[in-house]
């Protein structure tokens, strides 16, 4: 089942007088339950692609479908709703809110979805237990290690049962060993719960842990191969 389909996506940034074409027509289809890595060097356009796939930005041209819904021309608020319902983000720098406990951070997407606070917190605790943070429910981000913070972020990305998890350099701020545990967590989620995961990375070791590698260069896909 196709969950995500990009057709000839282009993105042009205007920097004063000059125009920079960051994406020069990218087409990509990802099915339910896939575990994909998008790789490329710095400047290859992978961050731009990730922003478009994550509905954080809209393409200059081309179409983009999530669950067969064209989201390429949606308004800011419609995109916010799509992000809330269909996409779970995991960022390189975790991006947890410093003033909120682990539980409150994980519960936040549910609150923006209009769920009751009490129920949201119960669910958030369950999700934290699932990533082995049952002992750290009421800790604030600064009281947690990097690996723990990233696991909180993973729990937050999963809480609204999104169609895809979009992870942007999820191990970039972690040491190798901790990075491995996060990658193991992703593969486990993919295998056991059939969660669709896209990892944006420039590290080939990380990319090699997924099932499919999409390689970008100069704003175009130059390779797209299944490795498992």
């Amino acid at each position: 089942m196709v969950i995500l389909e990009a057709k000839d996506l282009k993105k042009i940034y205007k920097m004063g007088e000059t125009e920079v074409e960051a994406l020069k027509g990218v087409s990509l289809t990802i099915n339910k339950g896939e575990f994909v890595a998008i790789t490329g060097t710095s400047g290859s356009g992978k961050s731009t692609l990730m922003h478009l796939l994550g509905c954080l930005d809209t393409p200059t041209s081309g179409d983009y479908f999530i669950d067969n819904k064209n989201v390429s021309h949606m308004t800011k608020d419609e995109l916010a709703k799509i992000r809330n319902e269909k996409i779970g983000f995991v960022f390189q720098k975790f991006f947890l809110l410093a003033d909120l406990t682990a539980t409150d951070n994980v519960a936040l997407p549910l609150l923006y979805a209009g769920k009751a606070e009490h129920d949201a917190k119960i669910k958030a605790r369950e999700y934290l237990q699932a990533v082995d943070l049952g002992e750290r429910l009421d800790h604030y981000p600064y009281q947690l290690s990097g690996g723990q913070q990233q696991r909180v972020a993973v729990a937050r990305s999963l809480i609204n049962t999104p169609s895809i998890i979009l992870a942007d350099e999820p191990t970039g701020n972690l040491d190798t060993q901790t990075g491995d545990t996060i990658m193991t967590l992703f593969s486990k989620l993919n295998k056991e719960q059939n969660v669709t995961i896209i990892i944006v990375t420039h590290e080939s070791e990380i990319a090699n842990k997924t099932n499919r590698i999409v390689q970008l260069q100069d704003g175009k896909i130059i390779a797209d191969k299944k490795i498992r």
Partner: protein
């Protein structure tokens, strides 16, 4: 997010920057303190003036000799001696709404008791005067009709005279001299306080009208500076006043194109004049309060703009996980409103405290009106909404990608 969750978010953010939040609210605090203090003290002053005006007497009307213009030039005073005995008689007999009246003669004279001197008002009135003024004696008696007719040398004194000339001695049956004429004190008046125009009512010696006229002022004919009147009905004060005017115009043979050569004040006229004066003062103070509220609001806007810039990343994260523009807008507007409301609460407490201190110092009653509290709260909320809106709008319009990559 529901409003309770937004409220929690806002409180958490404010709690994180306690000192900044407090400094931000200072302008609002000053504004609200002035609103509460002004309104409370103003109410107290109004109440006091109302009491003083009520204290003038029952359905009180005063006729003064001289045109309003002339009296104004003399700064009030006790009237020119242009009212005659027949004017008084006409008012008493022909006006259907007049219940009681007393002619009045007044002069500032020196009273002497056992070597002590005291410059004070000496008033010549008739036996009805105290009744018209609703003024009671604390001891002794007032002079009667007979005493007035025979021009007895008796006097009734106010509390200030008692204090200044007699101290702890009982003044009853003692003799004071005014212009070398000996007067026997037969009664002491109760304390009255100040008149609406600020004179000490207790600084007075009352003597029979005829005695005043002949012995103290040396006037041969019966001329008066004022006629003090009590109307029969409170609702008919205006009719009474116009009735008196037309009788006096007739008495004075004034042609239709001539102005009144006398001035009539009713209790209502006096209270209206004082209301108008206090309204102007209140307005002025409220303008000052509003200016400080607006300055406070600009301060809030300033700090909220800084806050939005500082928290760009937080806004980006919230948007990434699903916050809509309106959720962000609400969050920051609410923060501004809460800062203003906290300022409002502090201001209300401060205002009440200052009003009480001022009231205590001036000896005025202080009324903390619910109205002033509601006005303060409402204005701080409005200030928060108004000045918080622009920064919040700015926050909600942030581009999520740019907000997330912001360092």
């Amino acid at each position: 997010m529901n409003s309770y969750q937004l409220l929690q978010t806002a409180l958490r953010a404010l709690n994180k920057h306690k000192l900044r939040s407090l400094l931000t609210t200072l302008g609002i605090i000053v504004g609200v303190v002035s609103i509460i203090a002004v309104m409370s003290i103003g109410e107290g002053a109004k109440y006091r003036v109302k009491k003083e005006i009520e204290g003038l007497g029952t359905n009180f009307i005063i006729v003064l000799g001289g045109t309003p213009k002339r009296l104004m030039a003399q700064r009030g005073g006790s009237g020119n001696l242009t009212l005659k005995e027949k004017d008084y008689q006409a008012i008493l007999n022909e006006c259907e709404y007049v219940a009681m009246a007393s002619p009045g003669l007044q002069n500032s004279l020196k009273a002497v008791y056992e070597g002590k001197n005291w410059q004070c008002m000496v008033g010549g009135v008739n036996e009805k005067y105290l009744e018209i003024r609703k003024w009671d004696l604390v001891s002794g008696i007032f002079f009667d009709k007979h005493a007035i007719k025979s021009g007895k040398k008796v006097a009734v004194i106010g509390q200030t005279i008692k204090k200044e000339l007699f101290g702890t001695v009982d003044p009853i049956d003692k003799t004071i001299r005014i212009k070398k004429v000996p007067f026997k004190i037969i009664g002491i008046l109760g304390e009255r306080g100040k008149t609406p125009d600020g004179r000490d009512e207790d600084d007075i010696i009352m003597v029979p009208l005829k005695t005043m006229q002949k012995k103290l002022m040396g006037i041969k004919t019966q001329k008066y500076g004022a006629i003090i009147i009590s109307a029969k009905e409170k609702d008919k004060m205006n009719q009474t006043s116009s009735e008196i005017k037309s009788i006096l115009r007739q008495q004075h043979n004034l042609a239709t194109n001539e102005d009144d050569d006398f001035t009539v004040f009713t209790q209502d006229d006096i209270s209206q004049a004082s209301d108008a004066a206090s309204a102007v003062l209140n307005l002025l103070l409220l303008v000052i309060a509003s200016i400080s509220l607006i300055v406070g609001g600009i301060g809030i806007m300033n700090i909220m703009l800084v806050t939005v810039t500082e928290r760009t990343k937080e806004i980006g994260i919230r948007m990434a996980i699903g916050a809509t523009t309106s959720a962000i807008l609400k969050q920051f507007v609410l923060e501004a409103v809460i800062i203003c409301m906290l300022g409002g609460f502090c201001g209300i407490i401060g205002g009440i405290t200052i009003a009480k201190i001022v009231g205590h110092a001036l000896g005025w009653p202080i009324f903390i009106s619910i109205k002033s509290i509601l006005v303060s709260l409402a204005s701080s909320i409005i200030i928060g909404l108004f000045f918080g809106f622009y920064p919040a709008k700015k926050a909600s319009k942030l581009n999520v990608v740019e907000a997330l990559i912001e360092q």
